[in-house]
């Protein structure tokens, strides 16, 4: 009976914890038209190997990207032109950071760490939908862990093996 109980409890944990098992966002919803602090939680390496590089792709519509430096890691940014022009407090923005990389680190498989980026979620983003931040962990000898799957219509992140962390977009605060 005890075994059954623990299994049952473990199953419940699947329900509540599946999303946490992967590389995820600490806050899973945020209003548009506002700044947002995105905290990416990396709970393990690639099949036992330590993580050396963490790459976050910045989705379209997310601007004013400011990554938080981490001791022991070199910060890099990939910039480029956006598909659209966005309004950032009255200034039109056409280009900016499209990918953030923390390189040269050594996060062991049995360790946990967080990676932070402050961004601005433009009002053009679709309220009610989920915005995905695909993440790649790179480990020695070419090993990678890619949290890049985006659920198709009718699917949820739980249906996927390597879901990208998602942020549910809420109505602009005081927008009514």
């Amino acid at each position: 009976m005890l075994k059954k109980l623990s299994l049952a409890a473990a199953l419940v944990a699947v329900g509540s914890g599946a999303a946490i098992a992967h590389t995820t966002l600490e806050t899973t919803e945020a209003p548009v038209g506002a700044s947002h602090k995105a905290v990416f939680r990396v709970p393990h390496g690639c099949e036992g190997k330590p993580t050396n590089v963490v790459r976050v792709q910045i989705p379209e519509g997310v601007i004013a990207v400011k990554p938080m430096p981490k001791p022991g890691w070199t910060l890099e940014r990939v910039t480029g032109a956006y598909a659209n022009t966005y309004d950032y407090h009255g200034t039109p923005v056409k280009e900016g950071v499209k990918e953030v990389l923390w390189k040269g680190g050594d996060l062991r498989d049995d360790e946990y760490d967080e990676f932070v980026v402050r961004v601005y979620l433009t009002s053009d983003l679709p309220v009610g939908k989920t915005l995905y931040f695909p993440i790649v962990q790179e480990c020695p000898a070419g090993a990678t862990e890619r949290w890049i799957e985006i659920p198709a219509e009718g699917q949820s992140g739980d249906d996927l093996e390597f879901p990208a962390p998602g942020l549910k977009l809420l109505e602009k605060a005081g927008g009514h």
Binding site: K4, L5, L7, A8, A9, A10, L11, V12, A13, V14, G15, S16, G17, A18, I20, A21, H22, P43, H44, E47, G48, R55, Q57, D109, Y112, P134, V136, R146, I148, E149, D158, F162
Partner: protein
Amino acid sequence: MVAARQPRLNGRRPRWARIPAMVMLACSAWFWIAVAAFAHASLIETSPADNAVLAEAPATFSMTFSEPISPLTLRLVKPDGSSFSLEHFVLRDRTLEIELPHDLARKTHVLSWRAISEDGHPVGGSVVFSIGTPSATPPEATGKIDWPVRTAVWLAKIALYLGLFLGIGGSFAVTWLGRGERSGSLATLVLLGIGLVGGTLSVGFQGLDALAVPLGRISDLAAWQAGMNTSFGRTAIVAFLASVIAIFALAAKGGRGRPLSLATLAGTGLALALSGHAGAAEPQWLARSTVFLHGIAVAFWTGALIPLGLALERRTPTCRGMLRRFSGTIPLVLACLVVTGMLLSVVQVQKPSALFETAYGEVFLVKLALLVPVFALAAFNRWRLTKPAEHQDPSAMGRLVGSIAAETAIVVLIFGVAAAWRFTPPPRALAIAAAKPAVVHIHTDKAMANVQLSPGSAGQVEASIDLLSGDFGALNAKEVTLVLSQPSSGVESIRRPARRAAEANWRIDQIIIPLPGTWHVRVDILISDFELARLEGEADIRP
């Protein structure tokens, strides 16, 4: 909310799923807090390793994970496709030691596992290992002769020849040589019917032979599909159409059946040229056109025998005209028959010694031996009996009828011998059919993949994956992984990374498909570092 988010496990609902929701809810609060620190387990190492070929059956199977896990299901799928649950295992830290039964058979086994890690995320996969040699399309299956199937193939082929030569040739003789003469129409119709039945059955029998399955499986649609997929499928279609048209040609009044019966005569040649060893020889254009002409000559000559013999026997008013027209054209037809026959034997036999050394040569000699009396009779008819018969000499007519009957009987024997050629040299056409790959085509708006597993049968196969973007453009993938699973027999995902062989072609040189049946095929295409396309389809793997 909690219940709705339980993982979906394949197949049976496990017993513990029935534990009352109360218990679950009570535990969930604690897990909600505790789970945050947990992580997701992955399989790091197994012994024996995935894809290993071992000399001896291993006593235990060990799996090492990146995190502590507890197994949910452990099944061993045996080479024959049956599976059983592995109940005896020990967990040592992150390593799972599974006790295997002592009496493992040789060939390929699959250890299919599903486990839950501390974070509660169920993970699963399959490890393939073989004892002795990997299961493959068993070589002994081709060495062993299935006599019932072989006899059926042979008899159906003779029936097809009767229809193609005597039936179609007969309808040509009735409409062209007979003019107003209708003798032999009924016999020709019967022969066409025999040919239709024989030709149709041949498809199924050829399929049985191609798949190397017993006669009892004739009701299996797969056998018919396999038969149609061999080169014989085209022959069967042409023969069927030609025979049906020949029936119309016979039924048509006056001279209207003549263009139809001429077309069916060409159909006979075409049906024969489309399959068989001779048609497959090089140079193809020469071999095929020679077979075409040879077939037409055989049908012209042998097809005329029954209508002519019957007309002469009945002493019909038009029989003399028919005989005259036949004897006027037959020298040309026989010349064509002999020349094409010699050409084909040169192409096929190549060197005289092969006549005695190969089964093909032996069949050829028997056929040649039977041709001697046929030609002797034909010559006797032509030079000794035709003239008096045309002048209505009753004894000459009677002897001519008897001689034609004997000729027909030997011709049927020759058909029987020629039908045996089907089994003589290593049948190239069927070797190709057996090696026919299983093909899966998957198209989504992101990407398109054409997966070929060759041969398309259980055992060691080579996978070739051709990629295109969703709108038929080039797709330059970074990584491609093939994932095979067979939920019906409990085989979890078997993953194999592919290597790039050409710009859009990815290959896996060796992948073992342990069981026949329907497999779920998934192609994971890493388009860029952050973009993955996952294509799913199904493949039918032959036994």
